[in-house]
């Protein structure tokens, strides 16, 4: 297979498969709890149902509220171009693009937060405050993790950080990279509003973080937000899976299959974490995120030694 074909394939996978990841997580949680669970394709049906609906906008909202979901999805789509998603290289790669990845994910979050504040609802303001607090604590963990990778692999673009440079890096600094992978997995849980940081299935506004911010969105807007959230999960999954797989297989088709298998394992891991852990109390969440930062920092210290 040639380069452009592989790039097209990874983008196709990025656009079409993420809701399946949510389906797998839901299925795993149901199975562990002893239930049959929703069909694997249920997230697609939910999205289709939402798209067919109409929207209702509150009179207190402005264009900011309507722009939120669009900007959020666009930012996550752009971020998807920067990460290798199964092909040997990311669609776009340049030196230092990991900072742009974090910035684009930050922009998506900013759009959601501003849209939530625009509604004037006190619940949504509370959710927005929590979301911003926790992501501010998660960001050092992510950045320290990436800086550790830069130090270990010697490149600064994500294609090198999460692909070419990893095989040698795992050979020399295996334990440090293991800490980084663990830390980024915790960040992935926090950023994607999964347990133990946020409960995606809760219906109590007082305890929600991400879900409470989108209470006023309906119909296609909500579909955009949920689709964007699924894409974001796929992105973080890709970072963790690429990091954990380490060396890339020579045969492109085999490498792509390994990547998809890794994403499946990532979803299963999240499902198991969500089944076995309770949501942490809000005051304990910073401890978890600072713990993740400490792991990343520890990895960096080991690499600087």
């Amino acid at each position: 297979m040639t380069g452009p074909l592989l790039t097209a394939l990874q983008l196709l996978g990025f656009l079409s498969l993420p809701p399946l990841l949510l389906g797998v997580i839901g299925r795993i949680k149901a199975r562990v709890a002893g239930r049959e669970g929703p069909p694997l394709l249920q997230p697609y049906r939910d999205l289709a149902r939402l798209v067919r609906k109409g929207t209702v906008y509150s009179r207190t909202t402005t264009w900011v509220f309507r722009a939120g979901p669009v900007v959020g999805l666009a930012a996550v789509l752009a971020a998807g171009l920067l990460v290798p998603l199964g092909a040997p290289a990311a669609t776009v790669a340049f030196a230092g693009d990991f900072a742009l990845l974090a910035a684009l994910l930050g922009l998506a979050r900013f759009a959601t937060v501003v849209a939530a504040l625009d509604t004037g609802s006190s619940f949504e303001g509370m959710g927005a405050a929590r979301e911003v607090t926790f992501s501010a604590l998660a960001e050092p963990a992510l950045f320290l993790g990436f800086v550790s990778l830069v130090r270990s692999t010697g490149g600064t673009d994500l294609t090198h950080l999460l692909g070419d440079g990893l095989a040698a890096a795992w050979h020399t600094d295996g334990p440090a990279l293991l800490l980084v992978a663990l830390s980024i997995f915790v960040v992935a849980l926090a950023e994607n509003a999964r347990l133990p940081v946020d409960d995606p299935a809760t219906h109590l506004e007082l305890t929600m973080i991400h879900e409470v911010m989108v209470l006023d969105h309906g119909g296609p807007d909500l579909a955009l937000i949920q689709y964007g959230a699924a894409l974001k999960l796929w992105l973080f999954g890709a970072v963790v899976v690429n990091l954990a797989l380490g060396a890339r297989l020579d045969e492109p088709a085999a490498a792509f299959a390994a990547f998809l298998g890794g994403q499946l394992a990532f979803a299963v891991a999240i499902g198991l974490v969500e089944s076995t852990m309770a949501r942490l109390r809000l005051v304990r969440i910073p401890q978890l995120l600072v713990g993740a930062s400490v792991l990343s920092a520890f990895a960096l210290v080991l690499l600087l030694r």
Partner: protein, 215 residues
């Protein structure tokens, strides 16, 4: 092989941080037990040329029995019989103590390379692990209010000393090291008795209450 040895040392340090961050005493005891298992593997992994097989085996089995099984079992029994299951208000919050512990470990890694040690060919992570673990144990002893938490701190500190002892295990006769392990066991027995007495006198394991003792 060095990768795996590195991993052992790093896991010991990560467990230090876990004990610092966890409020549940049961989880802390389990972490210290896991640390004991790792410590019992260390002498085996570090003895590259097997000149002292018997010595290494005694050390490994001794650490496993005392540090990984015996003491955690005693502590678990002590917590089961008392009503405390978690540290509620340590003198220093969990977050600051976690950050302090991590900073101490980072400092240990930085300056351990410059320490003039008379032993050639030692593992580069051995001294940092030892100093970092001692530091975390000290933090635990100083900041925890519950007696069980303080005993955990003492055990972590002792684990750090054990790691440093591995450095000298070629020079020390096995009897001395068995003596260290027995000392530890005796100390934990004494602490267990003290904990029992605190529990009986105040029906709680909060050492703050000892301040109200009068003649």
């Amino acid at each position: 092989m060095t990768g795996w040895t590195d991993l052992l040392f790093i896991l010991v340090l990560v467990l230090d941080l876990f004990v610092l961050a966890s409020s549940r005493l049961r989880a802390g005891i389990r972490a210290v037990a896991a640390q004991g298992v790792l410590l019992s593997l260390l002498p085996v992994v570090l003895s590259g040329d097997a000149t002292e097989t018997r010595h290494v085996a005694i050390l490994a089995v001794g650490a496993l029995v005392v540090k990984a099984v015996g003491i955690p079992w005693l502590l678990a029994r002590a917590t089961r019989e008392s009503t405390v299951s978690r540290e509620v208000t340590p003198l220093l919050g969990f977050l600051p103590s976690l950050v302090l512990g991590a900073a101490g470990i980072a400092a240990a890694i930085w300056f351990a390379a410059d320490l003039p040690l008379p032993v050639p060919g030692m593992h580069p992570l051995l001294v940092p692990t030892s100093i970092g673990t001692v530091w975390c144990g000290l933090l635990l002893i100083v900041t925890r209010r519950k007696a069980v938490g303080q005993v955990l701190g003492f055990l972590v500190l002792e684990n750090g000393v054990f790691v440093l002892g591995l450095l000298l295990s070629d020079f020390m006769p096995s009897m001395v090291e068995v003596g260290v392990l027995l000392d530890l066991l005796a100390a934990v027995f004494v602490m267990g008795l003290v904990m029992f007495d605190i529990q009986r006198a105040f029906s709680s394991l909060d050492t703050e209450k000892l301040a109200s003792l009068k003649d």
